[in-house]
């Protein structure tokens, strides 16, 4: 019998804080290629190991190795690289635009570009993502026009959301991108509902729920897992573990669990844990889960392990709570550099072509920005009408809103 002692509150804290040396030695990183690829139909209970390791394809030498390799052609990989370069350039420009007062707010993807860019390529038309604010790569990879994204960020007259939504809260139904909510986690259970609807209609469409590591603590995460476990609809539940939730490290949300992926086991849902900075691993894992969904084998949960290299948003300064150098010490590296190295290693890319691709991405972003700014930005140019404020509250405007709209003078 263990000794009785007074209890104490165990408050998890990161080992390192500003002023300390970054240290990720506690993060166990398996060799690329080391993790098995089970048959998608395998009993979830037999796949538990996959929630405690990390599926990785790209090794240190830039080679694609192991059972998860080979899901993409060199052409597709080059396109993937282009998407990530575009997203990074887009982020950089929008950050600057925010600092210039052209918009009120922005959220970037620095270091996490592979997760959304690669995953999107495992989907097909008709599938629906239920994203958070940090998956704009889904739009880029789906070919959604950059200028429309910028119009949204600038809340100008061409903003498809008509100025109503905070910047980066995109919606793009035709591109498989559900309307982003500012309330964390709510989309996760909606994704399950969407997949249930597909199952009720018997239509071959799937839904993908996205959530951050910190947000897994929210109630909607549980609601999603419960309903997914019960009705087994074609849904993929992704967790983007970028180590931070604003200022709180992932230990606060994860608590005593080994990994976020392990949360799925209590629901009989198979879970993968995947190198989120490895474009090939992200795609292969996504494709595996998609296979399961399309074969009506039910939900899959995937934890993508990555690192939020930038601030939480333009309102945040991470140096207040973590060492400035932590991002550089992150052991899974930079997703763009890793894919670039792979393409070079297999003889499908060169340093020169990379420089050129970067320049092209920037050009494309700059051109789009010009176009968007020519329309307007938050405080200048053509802006959405105040009239828009009263539209779409309901399909048909009820008398009290008409009255209020008249009061504004429209």
């Amino acid at each position: 019998m263990p000794d009785e002692v007074p209890p104490r509150l165990h408050v998890p804290a990161p080992a390192i804080r500003p002023g300390d040396d970054p240290d990720f030695s506690h993060v166990a990183i398996p060799r690329a290629g080391a993790v098995r690829r089970p048959d998608p139909g395998e009993n979830p209970e037999e796949m538990r190991d996959l929630a405690f390791s990390i599926v990785r394809v790209l090794n240190r030498d830039g080679e694609a190795v192991g059972p998860w390799a080979g899901s993409l052609t060199p052409d597709q990989l080059r396109e993937g690289l282009r998407h990530m370069l575009t997203l990074r350039a887009y982020d950089a420009r929008m950050l600057t635009a925010q600092r210039q007062g052209k918009t009120s707010f922005y959220m970037q993807h620095l270091g996490e570009e592979a997760v959304s860019c690669a995953f999107q390529r495992a989907l097909r038309a008709g599938d629906m993502n239920f994203p958070t604010y940090r998956q704009a790569g889904l739009l880029v990879a789906a070919g959604y026009p950059l200028v429309k994204m910028m119009n949204q960020v600038f809340s100008n007259a061409a903003d498809p959301m008509r100025g109503r939504q905070l910047p980066v809260m995109y919606t793009a139904r035709e591109h498989g991108f559900f309307s982003i909510s500012g309330n964390l986690a709510t989309q996760y259970v909606q994704a399950v509902g969407w997949a249930m609807a597909a199952a009720i209609r018997g239509e071959r469409k799937l839904a993908v729920g996205w959530i951050g590591d910190g947000s897994t603590a929210e109630s909607d995460f549980h609601g999603a897992l419960v309903f997914a476990s019960t009705y087994k609809p074609p849904v993929i539940l992704n967790i983007v573990n970028n180590q931070w939730a604003i200022s709180t490290f992932q230990g606060i949300a994860r608590g005593g669990a080994g990994t976020f992926a392990a949360r799925a086991h209590g629901f009989g849902i198979p879970a993968l844990r995947v190198d989120g900075n490895d474009y090939l691993a992200v795609h292969a894992a996504g494709a595996w889960a998609v296979e399961r969904a399309r074969a009506d084998l039910g939900p899959t949960l995937i934890e993508f392990v990555t690192y939020r290299a930038g601030g939480h948003s333009t309102s945040d300064d991470p140096s207040a709570y973590r060492p400035k150098e932590e991002g550089k010490a992150w052991p899974l590296g930079d997703p763009i550099l890793r894919l670039k190295a792979h393409l070079i290693a297999i003889g499908e890319w060169t340093e020169e072509r990379h420089v050129q691709a970067e320049a092209e991405a920037l050009d494309e972003v700059v051109a789009a920005q010009k176009e968007a700014e020519a329309i307007g930005t938050l405080h200048s140019g053509e802006r959405p009408s105040p009239r828009e404020m009263f539209e779409d509250v309901f399909a048909e405007m009820p008398p009290h809103l008409i009255r209020q709209r008249h009061e504004v003078g429209f």
């Binding site: 309330n183 259970v189 509902g193 249930m196 839904a207 609601g223 309901f394 008398p399």
Partner: protein
């Protein structure tokens, strides 16, 4: 015309909607095999199969949250929250999601969803089976809120709610499920299907949302009520002998302000009734609107008769419930004012 209880009328509305439109799906706690604790969905699973009407886990968040996803997909979910008192775990999905989806996506996604919930007291249900949370919905832009007071309205309003392209909160006064209740708890109750007031037309018909109904014409004062309180109002008027106009609001949002102000303009006196707690109840909104619209017509202050500002008690139910005696006193007061 056949006579039905409100339960049967609601069941009938479901069956018609499901028959007419394969996208109408019904879900909630115990609504499937069993047909709901109040039996409002009895027989639907057997008739339409378990993909169209099914039991859910006990998670109001999950019920509303998945329904939002289904509605956005293109289905028309009609979900049941077992008691309105249990809607709170789903409130975030109602307020932050269902209500705002059309707006924030500029119409790319919509949320044609009906959330049914038994509401109100009078059944000795204590504080967690008696609440009337309508004001928590009327404050939220993007929601419509409906409260029927009889079987025929329940059916026509529910069919209209299901046909509506936006989320509708459908509050069913549980004390009216089996028969009218005028607050005289010590008198025997009559079942709807034994009286003319329980007549319900066959087949599909819709009662438009946003239209009130003058239940009793009168010249001396206007009594505004909805749900169970419509019957309490009628009893109180009867007993008071005054010539009071009684209006059943039916839809709280959008409110039929025209019918309301026309009546108050005529009578010059107004009382609003509800079971919900007084402070910040829907009566406050009605009083605020009526005093603004009918200021120069009003001959006395607008009175509110409502539940006390306490949780709904068990043993003291009839001291809490705003019954005909309190309403009659209010009629007297407003007539003297």
């Amino acid at each position: 015309m056949p006579r039905m209880t409100m339960i049967e009328a609601i069941r009938d509305a479901h069956a018609i909607a499901m028959e007419d439109d394969p996208d109408v799906v019904v879900m909630g706690e115990d609504v499937g095999y069993f047909g709901g604790v109040f039996r409002c969905t009895a027989g639907l699973q057997k008739r339409f199969g378990p993909s169209r009407c099914f039991d859910t886990p006990i998670s109001e968040l999950g019920i509303v949250g998945t329904a939002v996803g289904m509605a956005a997909y293109g289905l028309k979910p009609v979900v049941e929250i077992q008691f309105a008192d249990y809607m709170y775990p789903g409130y975030d999905q109602i307020v932050s999601e269902a209500a705002r989806l059309r707006y924030r996506s500029a119409g790319e996604f919509t949320c044609p969803l009906v959330i049914r919930m038994p509401t109100g007291g009078g059944i000795f249900g204590g504080q967690t089976h008696s609440q009337s949370p309508e004001a928590l919905f009327t404050h939220v832009a993007g929601l419509k809120t409906v409260v029927p007071s009889n079987p025929s309205d329940a059916k026509g309003l529910l069919l209209a709610a299901i046909a509506d392209p936006d989320p509708v909160i459908f509050l069913e006064p549980k004390r009216l499920y089996n028969g009218p209740f005028d607050g005289h708890f010590d008198r025997p109750s009559v079942a709807w299907n034994r009286i003319e007031a329980g007549e319900v037309a066959e087949g599909r018909y819709e009662i438009p949302l946003g239209k009130a109904r003058v239940v009793r014409e009168g010249a001396d004062a206007t009594l505004l009520a909805y749900g169970t309180m419509v019957h309490v109002a009628l009893a109180a008027v009867e007993e008071s002998g005054a010539d009071v106009e009684v209006i059943d609001l039916r839809t709280l949002l959008p409110l039929d302000l025209e019918t309301v102000t026309a009546s108050v303009a005529k009578t010059g006196r107004c009382i609003v009734l509800h079971e919900a707690t007084l402070t910040s109840g829907f009566g406050a909104e009605v009083a605020a609107l009526v005093q603004a619209e009918c200021f120069y017509a009003l001959e006395a202050p607008i009175l509110r008769v409502a539940g006390w500002d306490t949780p709904y008690p068990h043993a003291q139910e009839w001291d809490y419930f705003p019954g005909p005696a309190r309403v009659a006193r209010a009629i007297q007061t407003v007539m003297e004012g």
